[in-house]
């Protein structure tokens, strides 16, 4: 108890056993015009217009980049409606009525090997940009910006750790389509000029290790290896993955590319593969419904599908009379939403529904479990105390900005003190 906690129960075993349903029954699909990273956006289709899969239907505009939106079904554009996106905020969404024909747009044509071999670095970046690819691990950071770095890149890391409990999206992808991950990694290596590729996965995923190794036989001309890292949380945090998979220690706040490293989530790499090989944007993602307040099920569903449909298809909530906590993402760092009117976006991989349990906060007994467990080696309890007296200088001295909000301090606290929330408040207070 008074010790460093790194292993947390992950509940993945039960989820993996559940079948994965390919959900294609969505009648209407919704495409957010804005997102957390892109506060503005515009559509380039009119109501009544017929669109096909992969067709550009609008653009989201961020501070320093633009991102095209693509239709993921074929059908008729209907209009706009407001729904909740991955960030938990209400956003304006474009509606497309599914005609269930799943017709591909004319631009969606496979590239031949010869065409791919002829692609230059700039071509790769351009393809990734056009496909609107973003970090699918949850950051939603535009991938082309990472790829277009001027720094010399030695190694591209494929991050398949997925250390959060209850998430099996990357696992499902690597299990069913390891080839896409590997080819995507190769394209990312070509795009960045890196000689080496490393795929980091959890040690306990022996089956994935075997699959990837087997698949790698076809690509023996490339220097790619599969590296097992510990089954810890937060092993998937990029700096920790890089440290344990590559042995490169990068200080917080530095650009990875300065150290010759690029880090991509395996799903992002698979999307790069689809964009380069098939000229396809991201159409589908694995999503799992889990938690004790809902009938658990895994889906492969189109981007734009409404969560309410998936919930109904899975069998709905359990014990609907009990108050529930809805979480998008993992139980450690996920986003809390107060309505299930959620539209699936690129980074939506999990909905957790828990029955609400009231926790009683006890006084801190200075057991220091939070200090011992903190992956960035700051002192949550001291930060909490400094924040309570609003001591800004002390907060800076305690390096509160290093906090990655992984949630471990709250998780381990025997007094059930919500330290992570104090960290968040302290961070925003210190930076004011």
């Amino acid at each position: 108890m008074i010790a460093k906690t790194r292993c947390i129960p992950d509940g993945k075993k039960e989820l993996k056993k559940l079948p994965t349903e390919h959900y294609t029954e969505a009648k209407y699909l919704y495409y957010p015009v804005t997102s957390a990273r892109c506060p503005e956006g515009e559509t380039c289709v009119r109501g009544g217009q017929f669109v096909k899969i992969g067709e550009v239907i609008g653009t989201r505009k961020g501070a320093f980049f633009e991102q095209p939106m693509h239709a993921t079904v074929s059908g008729e554009v209907l209009g706009n409606e407001k729904h909740i996106d991955q960030s938990g905020k209400m956003v304006d969404c474009l509606i497309v009525k599914n005609d269930f024909k799943y017709e591909l747009h004319e631009s969606i044509q496979d590239r031949t090997d010869a065409e791919i071999d002829a692609l230059t670095k700039d071509d790769f970046v351009e393809i990734v940009k056009e496909a609107g690819l973003v970090g699918l691990g949850g950051s939603a950071f535009p991938s082309y910006i990472k790829l277009s770095t001027k720094d010399q890149i030695d190694v591209v890391l494929a991050n398949g750790v997925e250390c959060e409990p209850n998430l099996i999206s990357d696992y499902g992808l690597m299990m069913t389509n390891p080839r896409a991950v590997i080819e995507g990694l190769i394209f990312a290596m070509k795009a960045s000029g890196a000689k080496k590729g490393v795929i980091a996965i959890k040690k306990k995923y022996k089956e994935i290790h075997e699959r990837l190794e087997f698949c790698l036989h076809e690509f023996s001309q490339y220097d790619i290896k599969v590296q097992s890292v510990g089954n810890f949380y937060p092993q998937g945090w990029e700096l920790m993955t890089i440290k344990n998979a590559l042995g490169i220690k990068i200080p917080q706040g530095e650009l990875l590319s300065k150290y010759g490293v690029l880090n991509f989530n395996v799903s992002t790499l698979a999307s790069i593969y689809a964009a380069v090989r098939h000229r396809l944007p991201v159409l589908e993602r694995y999503i799992s419904l889990s938690g004790n307040g809902i009938h658990n099920k895994n889906f492969r569903a189109r981007i734009g599908t409404l969560m309410t449909e998936l919930i109904a298809s899975a069998g709905g909530y359990k014990e609907p009379e009990k108050p529930k906590v809805l979480i998008l993402g993992g139980p450690m760092m996920g986003v809390n939403v107060t309505s299930d009117d959620i539209v699936m976006t690129h980074t939506t991989t999990s909905l957790i529904v828990q029955n609400d349990e009231t926790l009683i906060e006890e006084p801190c007994v200075h057991c220091a479990s939070c200090v011992y467990s903190c992956p960035v080696e700051i002192q949550p309890v001291q930060i909490m105390n400094a924040y309570k007296v609003r001591d800004k200088d002390m907060l800076k001295k305690l390096e509160v900005n290093k906090c990655i909000e992984c949630g471990l301090c709250s998780f381990v606290c025997p007094s059930k003190i919500h330290l992570t929330e104090h960290m968040r408040k302290a961070k925003s207070f210190a930076s004011k």
Partner: protein
């Protein structure tokens, strides 16, 4: 319609609780308690119970007085509203302090002295500072020192019966009696290990204490760092002193000191109290070094035969200093190793040149 609640991440918690931590300490204390009852019979039972009643009762009263009552017509409801936040930890925590306090007093100590010590510990050392988690000083040690200073006669004045003397009677013998090698005749090391010697109720049986320590460490309810740091410091410094004073029997001199007095009990149950410990790993190593070296210095050079409680209270005052964010960090930096090493060597030199009066 389903009702959705607002929360912030993380949404899951580890299956641990402060209650479990307190209960673990109580369980770990069981061998010591059972041994004291076996050794001292009703004397022990009565003192433990008195201490429990006083500490738990006074904490409950003080707790109620510290809360703001809600406005209500009936006095009973106003009283009840004061206890809305009263939890199981307001019973287990004082229970731990009470049992520890009972274990560091002599079995024949008058009941009113027990009540005074327990009351001082819980009221002045704990509740006045804000209750659970806010106390700076170890509660049991504060209570023990209070009656030790206020009622000195009861501890050192009357040598009526062997059992009346506390604070390590074997230690008293080494100073006022026959002197070291001969004390081993009346207090063989095996008897000291098993607890077949006079002394404070819980401090005499090293075996029972070690059983509790093993349990605490397995359950991770105590930090091994303070235990290792303080024991190593104590053992090494006492070996040096023994080497200087009795070159032939340095080892048994060290063992004699480890097994006598309250050092083992203090190391396992008192300095591991997380509330009064620093919150970083290096800090806990420093804390252990500080407590153990103070005990050594008090035993070798001080006016008192024994000083675990004194050393503990003194070190408690340094905890905010050790934890001061300007330098406190959970990383083991070179500065820590240098500082720890230099302090250790300096202490070793002080002990080596200080003992025996010879320079």
């Amino acid at each position: 319609m389903m009702q959705a609640v607002k929360q912030t991440s993380p949404y899951i918690r580890k299956d641990v609780s402060t209650k479990r931590m307190m209960t673990d300490v109580l369980i770990a204390l069981m061998p010591v308690v059972i041994f004291s009852i076996y050794r001292f019979g009703w004397d022990a039972v009565v003192r433990i119970l008195v201490s429990l009643v006083v500490m738990i009762g006074l904490e409950a009263i003080a707790f109620g007085m510290m809360q703001k009552p809600k406005k209500a017509d009936k006095w009973f409801e106003r009283l009840k509203s004061r206890y809305e936040k009263y939890t199981i930890n307001n019973i287990t925590a004082p229970a731990v302090s009470a049992v520890i306090f009972a274990m560091i007093i002599p079995s024949k100590l008058p009941i009113y002295a027990v009540i005074m010590g327990a009351a001082f510990g819980i009221l002045v050392a704990k509740m006045l500072f804000g209750g659970l988690g806010s106390n700076i000083f170890n509660i049991a040690a504060a209570g023990r020192i209070f009656i030790g200073l206020a009622l000195t006669d009861m501890f050192t004045g009357k040598y009526v019966g062997v059992d009346m003397i506390a604070g390590g009677t074997a230690l008293t013998a080494i100073r006022t009696g026959a002197g070291f090698p001969y004390t081993l005749n009346s207090y063989p090391l095996l008897d000291m290990f098993l607890g077949n010697i006079p002394g404070s109720m819980g401090e005499i049986s090293a075996l029972a204490i070690l059983l509790g320590m093993v349990y605490l460490l397995i359950r991770r309810s105590a930090d091994f760092r303070v235990i290792v740091s303080s024991l190593v410091t104590f053992v090494v410094l006492m070996l040096i002193a023994g080497f200087k004073l009795y070159p032939d029997q340095a080892f048994s001199y060290m063992l004699f000191h480890v097994l006598s007095g309250g050092i083992l009990f203090g190391v396992v149950f008192m300095i591991t109290d997380p509330v009064t410990s620093p919150v970083t790993k290096p800090g806990r190593w420093i804390y252990g070094l500080l407590v153990a070296s103070l005990v050594v210095i008090i035993r070798l050079f001080g006016a008192y035969p024994e000083g675990v409680a004194f050393a503990l209270l003194f070190s408690n005052m340094f905890v905010p200093l050790i934890d001061y964010p300007q330098w406190a960090t959970n990383k083991f930096k070179p500065g820590f190793f240098i500082g720890y090493g230099v302090a250790f060597v300096a202490l070793a030199l002080i002990v080596y040149f200080g003992v025996g009066g010879a320079v």
